[in-house]
Amino acid sequence: MPRNASRCFWISCWSDFSTATDSPRSWVTVPPSNAIVGANIPIATGMALGYKLRSTDSVAVSFFGDGASNIGAFHEGLNLAAVANAPVVFVCENNLYGASTHISKATLLDDIAARAHSYGMPGVIVDGMDVEAVHQAAAKAVARARSGSGPTLLEAKTYRYSGHSRGDPCGYRDEEEVALWHKRDPVLRCRGLLADEYGVTAATLDQIEQECQSQVEDAVAFAQAEPDPEIHTCCENVFKA
């Protein structure tokens, strides 16, 4: 985890999607997280168009939830990406809830991926609780974009364990549903896969989990120990100069 407080939103991820040998941080550019649901979607289309116009082989990947698939920016962003053949992958993490609203109250569709057909792009459904399946589907979509064949809408079926926010007691869903999804936990399943098919020992797996936990704890501690920004910085970066 990069030890820079201003980059605490960075995520280290997907080492297989690039054959580059330089550091992971240069493979992945992560804009600030967007509080406006769906606004990142046309921005991703634009980034992809920028990469294409500059003749790079970079691909833009846009992440959003099931709730975002109902907002105008989703529809405009996907349609433009399709008609302009932009190298972008749209990833919908369908965790069945937009804040407290169950997906069935927000759309008549069971599958967000069905919307891909409206824009003329492939819509792919993947088990979002299966690390290998997601890896394969994502690799395929990224390769498709990178090869100049255009965007994909990839829908990962998953679940939101916790509430919408820390103070959310989740009175709108029942314990049974939560328990059912916990049984399909991706980390546990991945552990099983690594042990059974790749012979990785429990000790090694425990160590990996511990290291991840430490990295997160260290990053949190680092961020919390950072002093408040100096007052004068509130006026910086409104404009370049």
């Binding site: 804009p31 606004a39 046309p42 634009g46 168009l49 920016a73 409104v238």
Partner: protein
């Protein structure tokens, strides 16, 4: 070498110059490059697709959120997009991308991302109804992180657009429809044919500046776009009536250079602001407040504002006439403010 140009031609010249020099500059908008088409709503981009191709003069669906959003993204990815709304009024379909995204991306990323884009808006009333008539300058002046340019002459238009394209921050570029001129091959019945000697080569007019267009002693008149030309016409008649008006062209509203305005008020002691949009919360309100703070003791009369009343712009010509300030309104107000 200069050439006599109208505003539409000056815009085209600026875009051509920028695109010839910098591969990262590209245009996007509705109907801007279609072969055999009309070069955008006001013919401004006519011919540019032939010269630069349809990847760099990109026709989009009717999707303002996507047009502006894609511009934000492309700019973040190293391009310099120049996006067009077919009518400025349509920017409201995309306001999240302008205000929450373009304007804030640099700040929210602590300077790691910049959005060097230009958003061109054809603005102003042309008797096409309330949703085809707004100037909207106030919304963008009010938004931190946006620069706002609103030229009134073809010379300023080319220079400001080149400066805007090269600026590393988002610029909202307002173009008054009645100032495009016959060079745009589309004439409005009430358009003003403004021509300038425009250099064929590269030059810039700096953003964040205003320009004294006419010197005077008795009253400072601040105006932009079409109103600037009406103020100049009024100044002629005022001079004949013994009122010497100093006219300042408010060609950039953000950043706002107040110093020339204060200097002028120190000389004339009277201010009349002339703006086309609705009076409440218009750019004139902000300028009046600042001049009230910084030049209060030089004023011999309250700062006056002439603007549209707080109504949607009427479509009927007879009603539009009483909504948008006319030359005779400017003359009347200037004389009221400077009774001698």
């Amino acid at each position: 070498m200069t050439q006599s140009m109208g505003m539409a031609e000056a815009l085209r010249s600026a875009m051509r110059t920028a695109m010839q020099q910098d591969e990262t500059v590209f245009l996007l908008g509705e109907d801007i490059g279609i072969a055999g088409g009309f070069g955008g709503g006001f013919t401004v981009t006519l011919g540019l697709a032939d010269e630069f191709g349809h990847d760099r003069v990109m026709d989009t669906p009717i999707a303002e959120t996507a047009i502006v959003g894609a511009s934000v993204g492309a700019a973040m990815a190293g391009m310099r997009p120049v996006a067009e709304m077919q009518y400025g009024d349509f920017v409201f379909c995309a306001m999240d991308q302008v205000v929450n995204q373009a304007a804030k991306m640099r700040y929210m990323s602590n300077g790691q991302f910049s959005v060097p884009m230009v958003l061109r808006l054809p603005v102003g009333s042309t008797r096409r109804g309330a949703q085809h008539a707004q100037c909207s300058d106030a919304y963008f002046m009010h938004t931190p992180g946006l620069k706002v340019a609103c030229p009134s002459t073809p010379y300023d238009t080319k220079g400001l657009l080149l400066a805007a394209i090269r600026d590393d921050d988002p610029v909202v570029f307002l173009e008054h429809k009645l100032l495009y001129g016959t060079g745009g091959r589309r004439q409005e019945s009430t358009s003003v044919d403004v021509l300038s000697e425009v250099p064929e080569e590269d030059y810039e007019v700096p953003l964040g500046t205003v320009q004294v267009r006419r010197e005077g002693q008795d009253i400072t008149i601040l105006a932009n776009m079409l109103m600037l030309h009406r103020a100049l016409a009024a100044a002629e008649e005022l001079a004949a009536a013994g009122v010497s008006a100093e006219i300042i062209d408010m060609r950039c509203l953000a950043p706002l250079d107040l110093n020339p305005l204060v200097e002028s008020v120190e000389k004339t002691n009277h201010v009349l602001i002339v703006e086309e949009d609705n009076i409440t919360g218009g750019w004139g309100a902000e300028v009046a407040a600042r001049l009230g703070e910084q030049a209060f003791y030089h004023l011999d009369a309250p700062i006056a504002r002439l603007a549209a009343p707080d109504i949607p712009v009427p479509c009927a010509a007879a009603l539009e006439r009483v909504c948008v300030p006319q030359v005779e309104d400017i003359i009347r107000e200037a004389q009221r403010v400077t009774p001698e």
